[in-house]
Amino acid sequence: MAKVTRAGSVAPPDGGWGWMIVAGCFLVTICTRAVTRCISIFFVEFQTYFAQDYSQTAWIHSIVDCMTMLCAPLGSVVSNHLSCQAGIMLGGLLASTGFILGSFATSLKHLYLTLGVLTGLGFALCYSPAIAMVGKYFSRRKALAYGIAMSGSGIGTFILAPVVQLLIEQFSWRGALLILGGFVLNLCVCGALMRPITLKEDHPSPEKNRDHGTQRGDCPQASPYSPLTKEWAQMCLCGSLKQEYGFLLMSDFVVLAVSVLFMAYGCSPLFVYLVPYALSVGVSHHQAAFLMSILGVIDIVGNITFGWLTDRRCLKDYRYVCYLFAVALDGLCYLCLPVLQSFPLLVPFSCTFGYFDGAYVTLIPVVTAEIVGTTSLSSALGVVYFLHAVPYLVSPPIAGWLVDTMGSYTAAFLLCGFAMIFSSVLLGFARIVKRLKSTQLRFLAKESDPKRPLWTNGSVAYSVAKELDQKDEESMAAAVTGCNLT
């Protein structure tokens, strides 16, 4: 068994079946993010049918968005323990059931449960595993692959919005929900495309691979060895949890997590408040809608071109820097926004903000993969998207409260701008500190042991961790031999 696993261990293909994975992830992004945005088209229908006002119906969208992000770690757990294919197919079935049950709803509460909770849960089971899968199949062209995959939300919204409108006109909202449920079932097709791939681990030694393999694979088989069962099982559980969520203790990841909180706080209000702000400075309705369209289209362009750009050899090692540059530029755009008071000034703002918004969205999985490696990428992405949930929920109401109390949009936009700039400054600062430490350590290590190879891909953690890992290996080897004796 172990031999076959090792024979199947390959380097990321960077092509071949990888492009089918990208197509699958593209479709997943369309079916989850784009469909979530198109749910707001149903609100007018719900308002008339159920005789409720806008704030009650808008809860549906908030519940779906919140559930998708909050349950993202659950999605990673399911796909890690079952398989990526099974996880995404299950998610597709759940989401589709939510839509189908929603088409029979007789009150708004039913819609909260079916269209909100059930569909959101289904989407959560699909989203982060699909994105993690793309990371496993690509390394050289990772950013381009992510760019194409993430552009699905923009392109999907563009295509689905008129289609949903047409469906509502032809079949009314019940029929439209039913047909959308069928469309969302295509997530199962995406799930089938996600063929599992076993990669070489990021760490160098195959003995380590084998030990980790036995640690995971042999855990259920440990029960025949009765005296050591309990200890072994405990060590097994702790070990597997430690392996799955060990990245949570990495300082790099903690810094990324905090910066993601601030970044998610900053980026969400613009999509809610750009149109009201434009109307308040005297732009007409048509022009304000045009601004939103520009934002959407340039978002797609930013996704793909920035992904391609950061794959170039000259920028490949600086993806982290490109990410924090994109976030910082978006923050600067926010700071300039209160000064832009006419349509000809708002158009370049839309273009710039949209481009860099698409840019950093593409780079989030890339930067996460650089920090935690490809094995833990699924769980790490789950945590990162989980951290998006609370700011997404909290930020638009806070901005709205600021607009109401101050009477203008300046305070809200300045707060968002500073949040994003703080996020990128934090990342930059952490990187500088790490560079300083690594130059110090390198200096020390060179003096002590000139023969030991040092992993110089910029991460201090690797050279220190190698020593720790060797100690782990020794204890593991002792346990294995002890086990085999009984």
Binding site: R6, S172, A176, L178, I179, L185, V189, A192, R195, P206
Partner: protein, 331 residues
């Protein structure tokens, strides 16, 4: 109506004798021949009317031309309650104003000279003012002023009751469901709303008390909602909502379409079939490629071991194949 405006003109300066003569004249010279008009020519009713509408609001509307703009102008006026209406056409020119002749028409019928429209000239501008009380639906229509000078200038005031808005597109519903048809009037407050259903050309009023099927209510006075429950396919068709004002009525038409649940079910089942087919194809492809990979021919074993060697080529040596190779070399 002509007689009424004549009345107004004479009542204002207060000349009862001339008034009586005129009344007699109009009764004989019945060009319009409308029996209802005669009620307005009798004095007691007129006084009653003046008392009733003593606190009318004055509405003034005006169309103006200059020398450059001489295209016909139209202005829309919405009235829902009786008003004291003043229509003014004004023309500014540096040329000769004395040659300009003003006439007024209502719906292509000339208004007589004794009706109250008076023309004044102030400096370079000619003003022609037509003032009257509107209080019933027959007075609604298009009032035009014609200024015949060097060119003919024409201005039209379209006086209408507020219009009612429903839904432009047909309302789609399903059998067994219930739906709400909504009509609203943005520019005014109707006195009353009624609903009709038309099969073909006949409009049948909707009976709310017949069974539990229809409920009419509205949250505000300027909108009305008709709720239809337990829909059947026969309930599909044209529905009319009519708003009643003091000065007339306006109505709007809403189309209701009742579908059976089979209609959206067909595309849904088509999509489900496509999904199942694609999933089956992809999974079968995967199983096939896995079988090909896991099915070793004898000759491939050596190649697999070579692959193992190249996979582990990060400095750690794999002794077993190396030994075998050495053995074969020695042999």
């Amino acid at each position: 109506m002509r007689s009424l405006t004549g009345l107004r003109a004479l009542v204002a300066p207060g000349c009862p004798l001339l008034l009586l003569c005129l009344l007699a004249a109009t009764r004989l010279d019945r060009a319009e021949g409308d029996p209802a008009d005669s009620s307005f020519t009798s004095l007691p009713v007129r006084e009653e009317m003046m008392a009733k509408y003593s606190n009318l609001s004055l509405e003034s509307h005006n169309i103006s031309w200059t020398e450059q703009s001489s295209a016909p102008v139209e202005k829309n006026i919405t009235l829902e309650r009786p008003s004291d209406l003043e229509l003014i056409c004004q023309f500014t020119t540096s040329g000769d104003l004395n040659s300009v002749n003003v006439t007024w028409k209502k719906d292509d019928v000339f208004l007589e000279n004794f009706d109250v429209f008076n023309t004044t000239k102030v400096g370079n501008t000619l003003y022609s003012q037509y003032r009257f009380i509107i209080f019933n639906s027959k007075q609604m229509g298009n009032y035009s002023c014609f200024l015949n000078g060097e060119e003919e200038l024409r201005g039209t005031f379209n006086i209408r009751v507020p219009s009612v808005h429903g839904k432009n597109k047909p309302l789609i519903t399903y059998v067994g469901d219930s739906t709400v048809l909504k009509c609203e009037c943005q520019d005014g407050l109707p006195l009353n709303w009624t609903w009709y259903m038309s099969n073909g050309s006949v409009q049948v009023p909707i009976d709310v008390y017949k069974n539990d099927k229809y409920v009419i209510n509205g949250s505000y006075a300027n909108e009305t909602r008709l709720k239809v429950k337990h829909l059947l396919e026969e309930d599909g068709g044209s529905y009319w909502c009519r708003a009643v004002f003091q000065l007339g009525e306006s109505e709007e038409h809403i189309e209701l379409v009742v579908l059976s649940f089979m209609v959206p079910l067909k595309p849904f089942l088509a999509i489900i079939a496509e999904v199942i087919l694609l999933v089956a194809i992809i999974l079968l492809c995967e199983v096939y490629t896995q079988k090909k990979k896991n099915d070793p021919d004898d000759g491939k074993e050596f190649e697999q071991i070579e692959q193992l060697k190249s996979d582990d080529s990060n400095g750690i040596e794999n002794n077993a194949p190396r030994l075998r190779k050495n053995e074969s070399v020695e042999q």
